[in-house]
């Protein structure tokens, strides 16, 4: 396989020795990045590794964000966020046909349904909300000066513009955006925001969260965005408790406050939860349009479009609660 040969060069030069690549498998999931699992063998040692690779067609736009992801992973590790080591990264397509990051593979589960239901995680589930609070408390201490230029997050105005451009009409999402606009809380702080901190991007073992993955949406913003996003119903995967389907607001907030030293206003948290719900609704529209008009044919992308109404439903229930 051509990719295996190129990977041997990349990993070999990172480790300073000749390596043999085996068990190279593309993993499911990840609509905007390819994720590959593979082993690199050398001197009787097997290194368990992961390749994240942007689509070649998006090389020019995805390249800089791949370097940003790699820099974030290193800086996050420095402030105590559980992270895999990064071995190599590139912003161009010269070596692997697309911009990439190669990192160590962390053993554990990312599939939310298993984390929320399998017996192996029964003991740790009640601790996950507090662990997430601690990790976010650390994560929000990342130094932006250690990172390349970051884009702004999806602020409310940007979300509305994206929805308008999509051509999809959603009175429910519009109503939620109108309410958010008129009840916008003052910013709490400006920090590095992970932007996609949720089930699916957390590697969990029977001992708890082992790694925080997928830094492609990192930006500078209000740290409450990360807490609200973790609580949106879409990321509970059918679990009843509000924090990721595994925990309570109290546990998340208490651990976050203790670690960060910053008080969390519950109304502000709920505001960001509603914003997260709207944002996921808009992202679902965008994903469907990548299939419908973007030339990226995929039944998975098309199907995501049908999740817009779930977000409308969640917005409706949240607004009834908040008004």
């Amino acid at each position: 396989m051509v990719l295996a040969g190129s990977l041997a060069d990349v990993v070999g030069s990172a480790l300073g020795c000749r390596v043999e690549i085996c068990d190279l498998v593309r993993l499911s999931g990840g609509a905007s990045r390819e994720t590959w699992s593979f082993d690199a063998a050398h001197d009787g040692v097997v290194e368990e590794l992961i390749l994240r690779r942007g689509p070649d067609a998006l090389g020019d736009t995805i390249g800089p964000t791949m370097l940003l992801e790699a820099a974030c992973m290193r800086e996050a590790a420095r402030v105590g966020v559980p992270m895999p080591d990064v071995l190599a990264a590139a912003a161009d397509s010269a070596e692997l046909g697309a911009p990439y990051v190669v990192m160590r593979r962390i053993a554990g589960e990312t599939i939310a349904r298993k984390i929320l239901r399998d017996d192996a995680y029964a003991d740790v589930r009640p601790q996950l909300a507090a662990q997430c609070g601690e990790i976010l408390g650390n994560l929000h201490q990342m130094d932006p000066a250690a990172l390349p230029q970051m884009s702004d997050g999806y602020a409310l105005d940007a979300l509305r513009a994206v929805l308008t451009d999509s051509g999809v009409l959603s009175p429910m999402l519009e109503l939620a955006m109108r309410w958010l606009e008129q009840h916008r809380p003052p910013p709490t702080r400006t920090t590095v925001v992970h932007g996609d901190f949720r089930n699916g991007n957390l590697v969990v073992g029977p001992d708890g969260v082992r790694a925080v993955l997928d830094w492609e949406l990192v930006h500078l913003g209000d740290p409450m965005e990360d807490l609200g996003w973790l609580c949106t119903r879409a990321w509970r995967f059918g679990g009843a408790p509000p924090v990721g389907g595994f925990g309570e607001y109290d546990d998340l907030v208490a651990a976050y406050e203790k670690r960060s030293g910053v008080a969390v206003d519950r109304d502000v948290l709920r505001w960001w939860e509603l914003l997260g719900t709207v944002k996921w609704g808009v992202i679902c529209v965008v994903q469907a349009n990548r299939h419908l008009v973007g030339g990226q044919r995929s039944v998975e992308l098309a199907a995501i479009g049908r999740r817009v109404c779930e977000q409308e439903y969640d917005c409706l229930n949240l607004l009834e609660e908040l008004t």
Binding site: L169, S170, P171, E300, A303, R307, E310, L316, T323
Partner: protein, 110 residues
């Protein structure tokens, strides 16, 4: 002209094929894509059965607000014409939002 089996029955046949024959023969990414495709066929089946009722519920909800269509409602929300009527709006939108979820993913309703 004979259209038998009907569209919903055909969708159901394809869904069964995907779940019972295609998915067990695949793994990894393709297994997942086949699962998504089977779920899409299930959505098609429900929409063929309940789509007209959904459309009627939505039209009725809009009429209760004195609004002609989605474009007009979006415009009214953006310009602030609906400010102060949020409770009424939520009540008017609930039946059609719930009907849409019933078609796309009934398990999401609570």
């Amino acid at each position: 002209m004979t259209s038998y089996p009907n569209a919903a029955q055909l969708a159901e046949a394809v869904e069964g094929f995907l779940r019972e024959e295609v998915m067990p023969a695949l793994e990894g990414r393709l297994h997942f894509q086949a699962l998504v495709a089977a779920n899409v066929m299930a959505i098609l089946g429900r929409e063929l059965a309940d789509g007209p009722a959904l459309q009627a519920a939505h039209t009725e909800g809009l009429a209760a607000l004195g609004i002609t269509d989605d474009a007009a409602l979006v415009d009214a929300i953006r310009t602030g014409d609906m400010d102060g009527r949020i409770g009424e709006l939520l009540a008017a939108l609930r039946p059609s939002v719930e009907a849409a979820v019933m078609i796309a993913n009934p398990k999401h309703l609570r």
